[in-house]
Amino acid sequence: MAPRLPFDDVQEGDELAVRSLFLAKDQVRAYARASGQWSARFTDDDGARREGLPGMITPGNMSMGLLASFLEDWAGPGTLRRLGTTFRGLVLPDRTIRLCAAVTEKHDTTRSIELDVWLEGDEGERWVLGTATLALA
């Protein structure tokens, strides 16, 4: 397993390098299939519109998954201990999203850190907000 980020290398206030990625509809469909969430709202524009949505949307669970991967890319696999999110807006695919995080607190006794995390659009509108706990080396 890849090494964990050393606790001493992190400071409160550190911001992770923002990750921008293009969220393709086919990737959202692949996630819907793999996660057992295959339904029109996540896979088909016309079907989603019939449910009153502007088009197919990204499952909130997928937004969480992308944030989790983003955090563990930085700190190492197996470091995520907790992730809490609020889904504030619809994440529509076929556009670029940005994954962001900042360290808010360090716990010396457990060698763990707290972070604010969020997923935002190109223009900075935050669609998913949350907090996370990571256990470091």
Binding site: A34, N61, M64, L66, P77
Partner: protein, 142 residues
């Protein structure tokens, strides 16, 4: 108590369902759909474990307790967020017992009227008795 619910219902287990066994193919497909390429999550073998958010796949046999289904239109709810606390990793071959409880119900009033938030807690336990995750699902209903 919102919706005139009996407070005794809070914290009560209303479903217990065993799901699985988990397969390596399922774990790899899930991780790859998130763009993962790290071997811990994508290469079948003794080191393969589930992506940390794989636990949200498990929803048990009944999503809401019967007493709540009578009071709200569950089909018109929106996923408002989740809180995941992770325990032991999920591995291929694991069976997962999903223990469902009604954790919290609260009301908020906004510009468009009242909204009810229902928090369902899934405690996920593997065949060895280890907790693999506690997942709080927060749904909003009008």
């Amino acid at each position: 108590m919102p919706l005139d619910l009996d407070p005794a219902i809070i914290g009560q287990e209303f479903d217990r369902t065993v799901e699985g066994p988990v397969t390596a193919e399922e774990l790899v497909a899930f991780a790859r759909a998130l763009g993962e390429s790290r071997p811990e999550y994508t290469e079948p073998g003794p080191g393969l474990v589930a992506h940390p958010t794989y636990c949200v796949r498990f929803r048990g046999g009944r999503f809401y307790p019967e007493s709540l289904v009578k009071l709200i239109d569950v089909r018109r709810g929106f996923d408002a967020g989740k809180d995941i606390r992770l325990g032991e990793p999920i591995r291929p071959g694991d069976t997962i017992e999903v223990r469902s409880t009604l954790h919290e119900v609260y009301e908020k009033t906004g510009r468009t009227g009242s909204m009810y938030f229902v928090v369902i807690r899934f405690t996920l336990v593997n065949q060895r008795g280890d907790v693999v995750a506690v997942v709080d699902n927060r749904f909003m209903h009008r």
